[in-house]
């Protein structure tokens, strides 16, 4: 009886307290479970605050894989019925892969963004991990806005900002077309729509295949209204700001009507940095084109975005060359000069600048005009405007000759003319005789002061230009013999150009002695972009371009050692150092071929 009471009491207590614990567990377990879910998925709750730990528990770790995410930079996708979507995406920043989460609700409003991983340089790309950057996405941003790059980038971190711009654009585009109720505009539809803005009411035909292959354009459309050709639309690819990323590009349309006037400019897609590219997307920029003749294009760069502008302008000019060669209706009243320029451009295939040198050369009955041809500072050769009388027949032709003395091509001055091959050869031979006899085919070599040349060869008494006796090379401005007081040759000094950053040119003087070693190097015009100075400071630990130990590497070296590329470029400033290195190697090859090999 006693035992029974003991066991009974014990059982009663255990059972009743188990019940108490069970009830307490019932009350608290869901709260604890919810808290644990929120803790484990804190980042997701941050970017989509409307999430509910209980209702959305299943969807929280269910990466939806049924969509094609290729090319979207999205790595994971979570769908919350009636609440929204969370995307995990990644892209290459300047120094690291950056992973982020972004949430979008069912009304295409962006609800939040969180950077999960980044390892970019402190003070530059790392700012992407700072709170202010993420916080701007918490309110007031829409998927459409982000698609168009409507957010504050990180100053001083163009590569990281550019990577993010591209990634968020793709993520939002995917969202809008997949879930956002926006019907995806195909590339063709987009081209058609924007082409329509350039030529209202026109019907477009893709005539790319019917035209010569050219790198002036990717796609070419013919615009017709009621069977009449009213113009052409060029779809063109151009580079962008280099420092954003080497692969930066801009794709755009230009329209040129049958009168040779622009009808507008329209950016199709860009991976350029937001801020830099903004102006070029506007109708203001397009309006700069409208009405301009292709022979007289006048557009201006947006301040601070000249590199992108230069790339776009060059690409447009190449299209102009193609257009004038193939479709130009010769307008009434085209002057002889305009005609000469147009036909020369056609011969050389790229946009050219003409420097008239007719008066600098002996008069000739057969040759009306002579011009030095350059493209963006690069010497291309000479163009002749010929009116030759051979066997009492007057032949009118434009002939282009390159610096090597070869005929590049010819163009009829009167379109209706047709000459035989023998006739054309006769004309070009005549031109070549004049060309050789008068030493044409190179620009007039600029002559430097002795003070500049002494930078490269301090031991010389005076310098004598000998470039006229050597083959022309477009890298080299001039070549001098360094002579002592008795006119004995001590060595040679090259005055040449190297390409720097942002399309700038660096002028360099560099001396070699007659024993086959380099002497000293001098930089006459520094790279004009201040970026380079700052970059050199940054990457070389306080050295200022052009006063760097890197330049000293080139001095007092045996030429063959230099040519074997034993001097490396400097990481971070490869544009400048690589440009200088390439130019020096070109000069050494020239020196070996012309001076050493030439039996000096």
């Amino acid at each position: 009886m006693k035992t029974l009471k003991l066991v009974g009491m014990l059982t009663l207590i255990v059972v009743s307290f188990s019940l108490l614990v069970w009830v307490a567990n019932d009350v608290t377990a869901p709260i604890i479970a919810e808290r644990k879910i929120i803790e484990a998925n804190a980042a997701k709750f941050d970017v989509l605050p409307s999430l509910d730990a209980t209702a959305d528990a299943d969807a929280l770790d269910k990466n939806v894989t049924t969509y094609d995410l290729s090319g979207t930079s999205i790595t994971e996708l979570y769908v919350f019925e009636g609440k929204g979507y969370i995307y995990k995406a990644e892209f290459g920043g300047f120094a690291s892969t950056i992973v982020y989460l972004v949430g979008v609700d069912t009304n295409n409003n962006v609800t939040g963004l969180k950077i999960l991983e980044q390892n970019d340089s402190p003070g530059y790309g790392a700012a992407i991990g700072e709170a202010w950057f993420s916080e701007q996405f918490s309110t007031g941003k829409t998927a459409e806005g982000l698609q168009d790059g409507e957010f504050d980038g990180i100053s001083g971190a163009s590569a990281t900002t550019g990577g993010f711009t591209g990634s968020i654009n793709k993520v939002m585009s995917f969202h809008l077309t997949t879930f956002g109720g926006v019907v995806a505009e195909t590339f063709e539809e987009k081209l058609a729509r924007l082409s329509g803005e350039l030529f209202p009411d026109a019907v477009f035909t893709d005539v790319t295949a019917d035209n010569e292959a050219s790198n002036a354009f990717e796609i070419l459309f013919e615009a017709k209204i009621a069977d009449d050709v009213v113009g052409y639309v060029y779809y063109i690819e151009a580079g962008g700001a280099n420092y954003a990323a080497p692969t930066t590009h801009n794709h755009f349309l230009i329209g040129i009507n049958k009168d040779g006037e622009f009808t507008g400019f329209s950016m199709i897609e860009t991976t350029d940095t937001s801020g830099i590219i903004d102006y070029y997307k506007t109708t203001d920029f397009s309006d700069e084109f409208v009405g301009d003749s292709i022979d007289d294009l006048s557009i201006d760069a947006d301040g601070g975005a000249t590199e992108t502008f230069n790339k776009i302008e060059t690409a447009v000019k190449n299209a102009i060359v193609y257009h004038s060669a193939n479709f130009s209706v010769i307008t009434e009243g085209e002057t002889e000069e305009q005609k000469f320029a147009r036909l020369t451009t056609n011969i050389f295939g790229v946009y050219t600048d003409l420097e008239d040198i007719t008066r600098d050369n002996p008069a000739s009955h057969d040759i009306d005009k002579i011009a030095n041809i350059t493209n963006d500072g690069t010497y291309l050769g000479v163009s002749y405007f010929v009116e030759a009388k051979i066997n009492d027949v007057v032949y009118k032709l434009v002939v282009g000759i390159n610096p090597a003395g070869e005929v590049v091509g010819t163009q009829y001055i009167y379109e209706e003319d047709v000459y035989t091959e023998a006739e054309i050869t006769a004309i070009t031979d005549l031109v070549l005789v004049y060309h050789t006899a008068n030493g044409l085919g190179r620009p007039v070599a600029p002559v430097l002061d002795d003070a500049d040349l002494l930078l490269a060869f301090a031991g010389a008494d005076h310098f004598v230009s000998i470039y006229d006796t050597l083959t022309y090379n477009s890298t080299i401005y001039n070549v001098y013999e360094a002579q002592d007081a008795t006119d004995a040759v001590l060595g040679y000094v090259y005055h040449f150009k190297a390409s720097g950053r942002s399309q700038s040119h660096i002028e360099i003087v560099y001396g070699f002695n007659i024993l086959g070693s380099s002497v000293t190097i001098g930089v006459l015009t520094g790279d004009t972009e201040s970026w380079d100075d700052a970059a050199f400071d940054f990457y070389t630990g306080g050295e200022t371009w052009p006063n760097t130990t890197w330049l000293d590497n080139w001095e007092n070296q045996v030429i063959d050692d230099i040519d074997d590329s034993q001097i490396d470029t400097v990481a971070g400033v490869t544009d400048t150092t690589g440009g200088v290195k390439a130019a020096i190697e070109e000069v050494i090859d020239f020196h070996k071929a012309e001076i050493i090999g030439g039996g000096s």
Binding site: F17, S18, V21, N25, A29
Partner: protein, 201 residues
């Protein structure tokens, strides 16, 4: 190698008394004589190691599969209490010499928080103790070595401590520092010394 690291960490670096503050009441109360400290240390080693093994088996084979791990505290304390009771009865009957040496300390062990603490740490908090990913069950070997290490650490410290206190009895100590305060002061100095083990593992 991993087990050696666990054992060293349990004995010295995370010493149960000086670092984790488990089992302080008997530490300060019992450890006035070397002989009794030694007996207590042995009894604790025996109980902690075996009860941890039992707790490990119950937790991972009964509580977790049935999703009643919230009952762990209740179950563990009952298991420990019963286990101590059984050991006491067993020793009394079959090994009177050992019983006479350890017997008096056994009831004290039930309320020694080191026993329950180690049982909970090796099961409920095993992720933190053994650095495991969520959902990974520690191996029986890890748990046993850890429990053994902890109890050896306990026995070691309590023995050293009693030796110091025996020596101290020979010296005059101010009245208000006698007993607990001077014992705490000694423990403070020992704990400082044990901080030095922190760099080893």
């Amino acid at each position: 190698m991993e087990l050696i690291a666990i054992a060293f960490g349990a004995i010295f670096v995370n010493n149960v008394v000086l670092k984790q503050f488990y089992g302080l009441c008997p530490f300060l109360g019992v450890s006035t004589k070397k002989s009794s400290a030694l007996s207590m240390g042995m009894a604790v080693t025996f109980v902690i190691t075996l009860s941890t093994m039992i707790a490990y088996a119950i937790y991972f084979t009964v509580l977790i599969p049935n999703e009643i791990e919230y009952l762990s505290t209740i179950v563990f304390i009952l298991v420990i209490a019963s286990f101590v009771q059984i050991v006491e009865m067993f020793l009394k009957k079959f090994s009177p010499p050992i019983y006479s040496a350890l017997g008096v300390y056994l009831p004290l062990i039930t309320t020694n928080c080191a026993v329950l603490g180690v049982a909970i740490d090796t099961t409920v908090n095993s992720g933190r103790i053994f650095n495991l990913a969520e959902g990974v069950i520690p191996s029986f070997g890890q748990v046993t070595i850890y429990a053994l290490g902890i109890s050896i650490g306990y026995a070691l410290v309590i023995f050293l401590f009693s030796a110091i206190r025996e020596e101290m009895d020979a010296y005059p100590i101010k009245r208000n520092w006698q007993g607990i305060p001077i014992a705490l002061m000694t423990a403070f100095i020992m704990a400082m010394i044990f901080i030095g083990f922190g760099g080893v593992v």
